[in-house]
Amino acid sequence: MKAQKQNLSQVFSEFAGALHSVNSGCVDKAYDDEERAELKRQLIALYDLTATWKNVRAWNWGFDDEAIHHAIQEKLPHYNAADTDGFSEQLYYFVLHQIPTYIQAGQHVLEVGCGSGAGLNFLSRCHQETKFTGLDLSKVSIDSANRRLSRPPGLKYIHGDAESLPFPDGQFDAVICVESAHNYPDFGRFLSEVCRVLKPGGYLSIADLYTCDRFELASSLIKSAKGMSLVVEADISPWVKKAVRKRMDPGSLFRRTSREAFRFPIGPLNERAQMLAYGAEFVGVEDDFILNTVKRLTTRKSKTRLVFDRYHHHLLCREG
């Protein structure tokens, strides 16, 4: 038990360090191969560890938009019932449906950074005739997604690296990437890999949280990406914040489930840790003594806390 605890705290602090390195400073840091491999190892260790946690009811910061809510409800009337608030689902629906080509039978969509696979599973239920493939660097996540969610031939998950996609050229009609790109040490390489695996005229739709520095870098890389043209760059923070605020409400399902996952006093601590991981600072949660304590504890080592203060959507088209 003690060894496990030590392992947990080491994994967390290495993760925080790697995330800090990737997201601070607005110049392309041009890590060498070894540095990139080490950063990825540190980041993936946390995702591997959390992949099997059963109490996860939110898989991204969420999106709250009435039009999207109704559009989903027409297809899946109970999508936000029981154990989910539906905001994670809405973000996925939004990202896919910003792509102006039509979700047609037989189209093949790739998600880079699919994590637990829940988002793609949801989209696959909305579009049963579309083929979806999820890719993630966390082998544990992929194994678990394949075991619990994969549904051949329409939905499968593959282990691999966003910066070196294990697919032949021109295989996909569309690529989506939801809250994953902030983990990539070499964002430019990811863009050129996506461009390679897209069919001409295919689309890349990315939603992610950014620090000020990282946004400057990502936005300029997107605008100068070879073979791809930017169709939309949009600040979607109002709709993300709406969802985050609802989750941060003391009576929310999000807070209740993360609190009840563990016995006192771990429960309330986990609740605050989850709040910090899912955008508490983005919406500026009112003074909460336990939250501030958890925040202090988790920033002690890296000293400066990363500020993810913007949330953007990008749509790119692969030139024909």
């Binding site: 938009d65 009435e66 047609q104 005229g201 939309v232």
Partner: protein, 104 residues
């Protein structure tokens, strides 16, 4: 306000006509109207289009994009850009319909 309302209010929603669709429809117009090039802002009738040519265009659109457009939809929106938007809208309304039928 929903995301879509916001984009429409900003007047940027037009930007989201798929480039490859714009290109393909421009080719269809050019072939039918016997002109070399069609720009997004060009009007079908200014380029010499008549109702016979319009029927030919609509039939090609039906074949390639699997969408049924009424003749008068072009009278309401005679530019190439607007014509593409009309197809896009009809197409997405159509997709929702297909899905519901599959579901019931």
């Amino acid at each position: 306000m929903t995301y879509k309302d916001q984009r429409v209010a900003e007047g940027v929603e037009d930007a989201v006509v798929p480039p490859e669709m714009l290109k393909r429809i421009a080719e269809i117009w050019a072939a039918t109207l016997k002109v070399e090039q069609v720009r997004p802002e060009d009007s079908f009738f200014d380029l010499g289009g008549d109702s016979m040519m319009l029927m030919m265009v609509l039939s090609r659109v039906r074949e390639e994009f699997n969408v049924e457009l009424a003749q008068n939809s072009v009278f309401r929106s005679p530019s190439l850009q607007d014509f593409c938007l009309t197809i896009a809208e009809a197409k997405s309304a159509d997709d929702d319909l297909d899905f519901d039928e599959g579901f019931l």
